[in-house]
């Protein structure tokens, strides 16, 4: 039902600016998704094998040029989208499925438990996210799975704080009081009365935190905590291209970094647009 609401909101409500943002964000994200799913069909060359001279400038044969080992950068970017999307989506789903229930329970029951959890979450939130992720990734060792763990830990407080706040304001509303008065159980109130009302918040927080997680993933990858050669990953490509920058080989870093920005921008536009549609009046 919520999904249908979401769709009607996007397509019918004459909130021109918010809608424009959501639509262009969705377009970017869909293009990258198609790239990732159909990578073998789209990529002209094998991303891990040499397919031309080394450091060839962009041409019709190699749209984005070749890297220091003669591999086609366009193909590496297409395959690289798989790692980014996989890491970021799994991490965000994990943090969401931890952060949302804890936020709901903490906000609903309140008391000492709530204060203790809030203090912990606030401290984590205050700590620079990338440094926290680096610490976790360094202890666990570089790998895709460990990167998912590191990134998911970092974004739990984001969900927790938003959901707790929403739950706090919803639990004093009349319809919740009414449910309590007719003897509904706590689990039922949380699941049937409060949760449906925070779904839109979850969707907005998800898009915005994915936008941020993409940058964290790229950062970790750039620093060498996610993949090792020859696996393509956008952030990692930048660290490979960095030594060739002073000699003027701009194409090794320009395209992968541009993709990081575009994908992050796509999710940010979806999140910002949705929050504008759902909270009108905030925008003037």
């Amino acid at each position: 039902m919520e999904v249908k609401n979401l769709a009607t909101t996007i397509f019918r409500i004459p909130e021109v600016e918010g809608r424009w943002m959501v639509m262009s964000g969705l377009a970017i994200v869909c293009i990258v998704l198609i790239m990732a799913i159909f990578a073998p069909l789209i990529a002209p060359y094998d991303p891990t094998k040499s397919s031309g001279e080394i450091l060839e400038a962009p041409s019709m044969k190699h749209l984005m040029g070749t890297d220091n080992l003669g591999r086609d950068i366009f193909s590496r970017i297409i395959y690289g989208s798989r790692v980014v999307l996989m890491v970021v989506f799994s991490a965000s789903l994990v943090s969401m499925s931890i952060g949302v229930p804890i936020g709901l329970i903490s906000g609903y029951f309140g008391g000492k438990l709530d204060r203790a959890i809030s203090m912990l979450m606030d401290s984590m939130y205050a700590f620079p996210s990338l440094i926290l992720a680096i610490a976790i990734a360094a202890v666990l060792g570089p790998s895709v799975v460990n990167a998912v763990v590191a990134i998911s830990v970092v974004y739990v407080p984001t969900y927790f704080r938003m959901i707790r706040g929403q739950t706090l304001s919803l639990k004093s509303r009349l319809f919740v009081e009414a449910a309590k008065a007719i003897g509904a159980k706590d689990t039922r109130i949380m699941g049937r009365y409060i949760l449906p009302n925070i779904v839109t918040t979850v969707v907005v927080v998800f898009s915005l935190s994915v936008a941020d997680a993409i940058l964290t993933e790229a950062g970790l990858s750039f620093l060498g905590f996610i993949v090792t050669a020859p696996t393509p990953d956008w952030g990692f490509e930048l660290s490979a291209g960095r030594p060739y920058l002073p000699a003027g080989y701009w194409w090794m870093i320009t395209f992968p970094g541009l993709m990081v920005m575009l994908l992050s921008l796509g999710f940010a536009l979806i999140g910002e647009g949705l929050s504008e549609i759902y909270a009108p009046g905030r925008e003037r």
Partner: protein, 336 residues
């Protein structure tokens, strides 16, 4: 004023639990997470005796609870342990060599982000609804999604490689360091009236600080725009204008009122600033805390890694205290 003092004291005491939680979190991540930090950092190729010796050196062979209290006690004494490589120097000494570089970079990055954000936000607000306003709104989102190493390298490519105007890495040309007092090269150069060093250090800090500044400015752009639009529609501004007060004065009053939430944002942005500094330092070979942390992770220097992260935690707690106190000084409504 008595209540202000009381507030500051209470707020300062509240730093203790915050620091305790952060330190416990760091301890938890480094010791209790599945896996042995030393084994994970050293890799599989090292014989078990060596791993055991390293564990002993780092104090990791004792019971966890004892480790925890030793860890807290040592930090309280300012003892961050000894580095596990080379001269086995005290970690705190190494951090003190690297920290000023990060501090300098973050101060400049921060100043630029506020400056750029306030200017763009004010322009957007005063030309509300225009094309300029719309493009500033897009700017505020795009700036945030810029990937720091990428944006930094683009600037390096344009200003360093193509136009050859600015250096693309390092803090200063080796050999031209000013006589140091604060280890902040720009400040030292000014204090010692060493203008060569001043020009040199400014040319080195410009690109990394601009990278950080632009990426962080988007949030200020948006916040200031929305606040300013709010303030501009309030009665006192309408009254000013009705009385024929000069537009420049009106702007000044409006800006003053719109600025208070910006200070809150400065505090919130601080964590992002530090995280961004890690990537900026790596991109620009800036010898600060971020490059220190990453270098020591590579060298498997466990005590230094722990020290660096603990130092970040203490720094974060301290800054949040300072921000709250400054905020209380500026806004008399905030008191306990």
């Amino acid at each position: 004023m008595a209540s202000l003092k009381a507030y500051i004291v209470t707020r300062a005491l509240l730093v203790i639990p915050t620091i305790l939680i952060l330190l416990t979190l760091v301890f938890f991540i480094l010791r209790i997470l599945p896996g042995d930090p030393i084994a994970a950092m050293v890799g599989q190729k090292v014989p078990p005796e060596v791993v055991e010796k390293l564990r002993e050196e780092a104090g990791l062979n004792k019971p966890l609870l004892i480790q925890y209290f030793e860890y807290l006690f040592n930090i309280a004494r300012g003892d961050f342990g000894k580095s596990m490589i080379w001269g086995k120097r005290p970690v705190i000494d190494e951090i003190m060599i690297r920290f000023p570089a990060t501090l300098e970079l973050t101060i400049f990055g921060f100043a630029l982000s506020v400056l750029i954000g306030v200017i763009t936000g004010a322009i957007a607000a005063f030309r509300r609804g225009s094309k300029v306003d719309a493009s500033m709104r897009i700017y505020s989102i795009v700036a945030y999604t810029l990937f720091i190493p990428w944006f930094g390298m683009l600037l390096q490519m344009i200003f360093g490689v193509y136009f050859r105007l600015l250096p693309i890495g390092g803090r200063i040309t080796p050999g031209s360091e000013p006589n140091t007092m604060t280890s902040l090269y720009v400040l030292d150069s000014i204090l010692t009236l060493n203008f060569n060093a001043l020009a040199d250090s400014l040319s080195h800090i410009f690109l990394p600080a601009l990278t950080l500044g632009i990426v962080l400015s988007g949030a200020y752009t948006r916040l200031l725009r929305n606040n300013l639009i709010d303030v501009l529609s309030q009665d006192f501004i309408v009254a000013y204008r009705a009385r024929g007060v000069k537009e420049r004065k009106v702007v000044k009053h409006a800006m003053k009122n719109a600025f208070i939430p910006v200070i809150t944002l400065m505090g919130l942005q601080f964590a992002i600033l530090l995280a961004g500094a890690v990537l900026t330092e790596t991109t620009f070979s800036w010898p600060g805390m971020g490059t220190f942390l990453l270098e020591r992770i590579q060298y498997r220097d466990y005590t230094s890694v722990q020290g660096a992260i603990v130092f970040y935690a203490l720094f974060v707690a301290l800054i949040s205290l300072v921000v709250d106190i400054v905020y209380a000084l500026l806004d008399p409504r905030i008191r306990y």
